[in-house]
């Protein structure tokens, strides 16, 4: 049982590391800042989750497991918020997304906002 958990942990760790590399390659290859934020933030949280889960399974239950959970929780809290702030700041400073402009209609109802993706 412990042996099986160890090997599952190995697999998850490697998968997480692989996801991180894929995300980094995406950040290098994607055409503009918004797509890069997309690549980075998703793989950061996903890769971190898999990797930390894998490390937890490999090391078994000990005090370090609690610290792994704390690291995971903080990454899950801060990384998406930072990505949000970054995309917000980039958009507000006038960088046009590569896929086209996203218009926020002032005073529009929430329903109208959903379809406000033009050109």
């Amino acid at each position: 049982m412990v042996e099986a958990l160890y090997w599952i942990g190995c697999g998850l760790t490697l998968l997480g590391a692989l996801l991180t590399v894929v995300g980094a390659a995406g950040v290098l290859r994607f055409p503009d800042v918004y797509t890069r934020i997309h690549a980075a933030s998703i793989t950061d949280t996903g890769g971190a989750t898999l990797l930390l889960l894998g490390l937890g399974l490999m090391s078994g239950l000990q005090f370090a497991t609690l610290k792994l959970v704390i690291v995971w929780a903080f990454i899950m809290l801060t990384s998406p918020a930072a990505a949000h702030a970054l995309a917000n700041a980039a958009y507000a400073s006038g960088l046009t997304p590569w896929i086209g402009e996203f218009r926020i209609i002032k005073g529009a109802t929430p329903d109208a906002k959903k379809t406000g993706n033009a050109s």
Partner: protein, 365 residues
């Protein structure tokens, strides 16, 4: 692991890669003319540095570098270029010849001299074989702290650390004397002269909620680092900077004005002085009880220590002495960093009028 990878030590490979990254970053920082980019790259430089320090077994130093590099130095540098300007003047290649030659000659001489340094990782080198090993051997019996770095910092070299704490206090005082305590910004606000260049309709609710969630956790973690310093990586310096980072985050998200009402500049500067006083006071308490300055074996009045629980196995004097001086370090470092931040952030009133105002109108309709 088998095959060719097993031949090479993993730590040595990571060491090499990280050091090359440091050199690349240094070259990039030397090359860029935009100071903002340079500051950003300095942030990455300090991240690489912290990883390298972890690989070199210097967990406590990595901790400090992590907090200082990620939290304080970037913000202070940003505050400075807000008050000056963010582009350096162009340098002609002719102006680089003399410094380049000087640097090359000195560097060549240093490489020549470096041949006499001990091999990397040599356990028998003079630095590692005598005094370093002695500290490791003596700490268990003398002090009883698991973290030898804390023991050396707080007890064996306590006088040195008192000096460092005083230097930090003096540096904070110097910044405050040159830039003010940030009270100018407060009075500007009260007179209604505070520039508010936040365009309407922007509501960073995600960041505000996240900051409300994170600030207590950061403070809590600072206390963990403070009181866990005997057993794991941590101590007063690290905890102090973490504490200051919590205040800086509050100021960044909720505005300097709100933070200055939560942590008054006057309180911060009083705490900075109090920390040095606590440290020196612990030293003097030892003199009063018949010992020498900062010799914590005499921290308690004669006869008291023997009556403490489990006195045979615990060196309570050293334990409480280190804890007390670390508290002093925490107070001084945290308050000094906050004072420095207030100094830089609170002065920007006139600089904002010059630099700002162009960017906020770039918002899409």
């Amino acid at each position: 692991m088998s095959g060719p990878l097993a031949m090479l030590d993993v730590g040595a490979i990571i060491n090499g890669v990280l050091l090359v990254m440091l050199v690349v970053l240094m070259c990039a920082i030397a090359r860029v003319r935009n100071l903002l980019t340079a500051i950003l790259l300095m942030g990455v430089y300090s991240l690489v540095m912290a990883v390298w320090l972890t690989v070199m077994d210097a967990a406590d130093v990595a901790f400090t570098e992590a907090v200082v590099g990620a939290g304080v130095s970037t913000v202070v540098l940003l505050g400075a270029i807000l008050l000056t300007r963010s582009e350096t003047a162009a340098i002609s290649w002719k102006a680089m010849i003399a410094p380049g030659l000087a640097v090359l000659v000195v560097g060549g001489l240093l490489v020549f001299a470096a041949q006499d340094l001990p091999d990397f990782g040599d356990p028998a080198s003079p630095a590692n074989a005598y005094v370093g090993k002695l500290y490791l051997e003596m700490t268990g019996g003398d002090i009883g702290a698991a973290n030898v770095v804390t023991a050396v910092l707080g007890s064996y070299r306590g006088f040195d650390t008192l000096g460092e704490t005083t230097v930090i206090f003096a540096a904070g005082l110097g910044v405050a004397l040159m830039l003010g305590f940030g009270e100018r910004a407060m009075s500007d606000r009260e007179r209604g002269r505070m520039p508010v260049n936040v365009s309407a309709g922007e509501d960073h609710v995600v960041l505000r909620v996240m900051a409300k969630l994170l600030i207590p956790l950061i403070v809590l973690y600072a206390f963990y680092v403070q009181f866990h310093g005997d057993l794991g990586p941590g101590g007063g310096f690290q905890a102090g900077v973490i504490m200051a980072v919590a205040v800086i985050l509050h100021a960044l998200v909720f505005g300097l004005d709100a933070t200055m009402h939560a942590v008054r500049p006057g309180v911060a500067r009083a705490i900075a002085a109090l920390g040095v006083l606590v440290y020196a006071g612990v030293g003097i308490a030892n003199i009063v009880h018949g010992g020498t300055f900062l010799n914590y074996d005499y921290l308690f009045p004669p006869g008291v220590e023997a009556r403490l629980p489990d006195a045979a196995h615990h060196n309570w004097g050293q334990h409480f002495g280190i804890m007390a001086i670390e508290a002093g370090v925490l107070l001084t470092v945290a308050a000094t960093m906050i004072t420095v931040f207030y100094g830089f952030a609170g002065r920007s009133a006139e600089a904002v009028a010059v630099v700002g105002g162009d960017d906020t109108h770039g918002q899409n309709p």
